[in-house]
């Protein structure tokens, strides 16, 4: 009996030890290939294919550095990464976007790449794009925490038939509509059972904040290292104009308000509204889903006092705890060379950060609005909110509900300003160290 209990106890101890010691990879033995995990968030069919193809190409050329493609999803990547980082099981190479990097960088989970970047990659990507990935790291030092490779700008996708019928001037990248012209055009295209424009505002914050730069609206100000929220006349411009289209001009389709970016497309194809302001990548869905006889054009976004838009980049980063950061960097510089960036941009219908890739003929063709999309890249500036510590919490706890209520006409613009500032500053205060 006693022996049996001793055996049982021993079994439990070993079991517990086995459970506890499960984590942590071992360094590769000499002669064995280095193994890297690459978390990719590509989701459009062409883009997943392009990603996988590049990984295969790399693995064939580099038998000593083998990369495993891991599929992730934009919906929950940040939740996933928080858990994986905390558990020490994060992938080596991480695909994400620049707003998320700020948080992970200051948490100390991402590797500062500034010393590791090869010169060719560094010079191929313009400084304005590097600015979107330069953050304060865990120890308070400035660093580059990712390689930006895809950028999104806002354009207007329009129903060509309805646009031509209305007889308004067709805007070009050189001479875009002003916001007044845009609202006027939307009014002209509004008639029985048909709206001029549709704003998909399920996630209204990034979109409005990026467009607010048209009138110089930054929403944040920093004095003495203290960031606070500001909603002044500049910030109110775009908010008010969208609200006017919805409730004063009644030229915007109220049904689209609660919808996600791609949700209004079926109604768009049916001609229920004429214009859809959206990110450039949505062109892919239009091409794929539109009925054969549906004609559409890509128009540049309207301009206010300037045509500037806030830029957000998709990035590749390396985990701080990766055991093979140098090999990971080698992989990134192959994956993001100019030719490959053009492939990835084409696959995702976004703008490449690489200047050489942007000059690729495939990026400037008139087909499917690539010329307008690529031309909009020159208006991209770093979105001010990127550098705000606590922006994510401000966005989901304060700004999202407030803007949703505003666009649903439940509160006034003054209340919006008051709540964004008061409740917002409470949130930001917790992030000041």
């Amino acid at each position: 009996m006693r022996i049996k209990s001793a055996l049982a106890a021993a079994a439990i101890v070993t079991l517990a030890a086995a459970c506890g010691g499960g984590g942590g990879g071992e360094p590769a033995a000499p002669g064995e290939p280095v193994k890297l995990d690459f978390l990719s968030l590509a989701w459009q069919k062409e883009s997943v294919a392009a990603n996988k193809e590049l990984v295969n190409e790399w693995n064939k050329a580099h038998p000593d550095i083998q990369v495993t493609y891991v599929q992730g999803s934009w919906d929950n990547v940040n939740d996933q990464l928080v858990t994986q980082f905390a558990g020490g099981t994060a992938p080596d190479v991480i695909h994400n976007d620049s707003p998320a990097l700020a948080g992970f960088a200051s948490d100390g989970y991402l590797l500062d790449l500034s010393a590791k970047l090869p010169a060719e990659l560094k010079s191929d990507i313009p400084q304005s794009a590097w600015d979107t990935v330069t953050f304060t790291g865990g120890e308070g030092e400035q660093g580059v925490y990712g390689v930006p490779f895809l950028q999104e700008s806002q354009v207007i996708i329009a129903n060509k038939k309805l646009l031509d019928e209305s007889g308004v001037r067709v805007p070009t990248p050189e001479e875009p509509w002003t916001w007044d012209e845009f609202s006027e055009a939307a009014k002209k295209m509004t008639k029985d059972g048909q709206y001029g424009v549709a704003w998909a505002m399920k996630s209204p914050v990034n979109k409005t904040l990026n467009l607010a730069l048209n009138f110089g609206g930054t929403f944040f100000q920093t004095t003495d290292g203290n960031t606070t929220v500001k909603v002044g006349p500049e910030e109110r411009e775009v908010l008010q104009r969208i609200h006017d289209q919805l409730y004063k001009d009644k030229s915007a389709d109220p049904a689209a308000l609660g919808q996600g970016t791609a949700d209004p497309l079926p109604a768009f194809f049916q001609g229920k509204f004429a214009m859809l302001p959206t990110g450039v990548y949505l062109r892919q869905q239009v091409v794929e889903q539109a009925p054969d006889d549906f004609e559409w054009v890509t128009l540049p976004a309207p301009k206010g006092t300037s045509a500037q838009q806030g830029a957000v980049s998709q990035t590749l980063s390396i985990a701080q705890e990766s055991e093979h950061p140098d090999e990971a960097m080698q992989f990134i510089s192959f994956f993001l060379n100019a030719a490959n960036q053009a492939k990835l941009a084409k696959g995702d219908w976004l703008l490449p950060a690489s200047q050489k890739a942007a000059a690729d003929p495939a990026m400037t063709t008139q087909e499917n609005g690539w010329d307008v999309a690529t031309a909009s890249a020159k208006n991209l500036v770093v979105a001010p909110f990127l550098k705000v510590n606590g922006y994510d919490e401000w966005r989901s706890k304060v700004a999202t509900p407030v803007l949703q209520e505003y666009f649903a006409d439940k509160i006034t613009l003054d209340e919006v300003a008051k709540r964004l500032v008061e409740e917002g500053n409470q949130v930001l205060e917790r992030y000041h160290r």
Binding site: L15, N78, A86, D107, L257, Q259, K397, Q404
Partner: protein, 304 residues
Amino acid sequence: MTATATRPAPPRAPRSKRRGASRQKREMWLLMLPAMVPVLLFSVGPLLYGIGLAFTDARNTRVHETSFVGLENFTRMLSDEQFWASFQIGAIWSVSVTVLQFLAALGLALLLNMNLRFRSVARVLAVVPWAMPPVVIGLMWKLVYHPDAGILNGLLGTDVNWLADFSLALPAIIVVGVWTGMPQTTVVLLAGLQNVPKELYEAGEVDGAGRWRRFWNITLPQLRPVIVAITSLDFVWNFNQFGLVYVLTQGGPGGRTRLPMLFAYEEAFRYRAAGYASMLGLAMAIVVLAVLGLYLWRQMREAK
């Protein structure tokens, strides 16, 4: 054993009896071990760890040094309007889902208990939602509620975005919640119904009690223990519901469906405040236990 009890006790009996008892106890522990170890390792351990975290400023970051902060998280929780808003939503959600679930399931169970044709087929069909994981249910209902392609708008001929409307989103997910939890409630109530002795009904009929009278004075009192058990379990499950709402609305629009569990999840995994989130979890566990304790205690007292 009975033999030893009747026989006059031999001198060594008390000792050997004690030894036998202790031996029996030891064997009992040994037999329980395989069940206890996983419980201790994977439930009690993390639970204690979580309670510990609730009194620290732990953050899910690499550079942060966790320190003990006492009741700071607790005071922050008390003054956190967002949390109380979400708590209120959680209360509305769990009470209404539990009550509606019970009423609907009771109706269905009574129906399935009758001598219908295709009764066995109907019983199987009633259990189908049980076989689906919450995420699948969420995705399915998302399609039902879809503003353009959804069958609900198609059937009603309306153009409503159910899950994005400020006042409709919560009722819409409550309907899904009721639907999801109905099978297990129905099955348990049906089992209860089948245990009600037939003689009681016969006696009632002889005494001239009508259908309603028989239900009220025989079925309900007989079902009482089952009803208490299943509604209290349902309440706990519903209060802790996460996957379904996470898939359907992610707490939107504007936080109108942000149940407390979602709120705590966001604190921990979006804003990395592990310590604060643990305090929220702890508070919710205590509230559930308190509500449940009160309810069970009252029911027990009335039953006596």
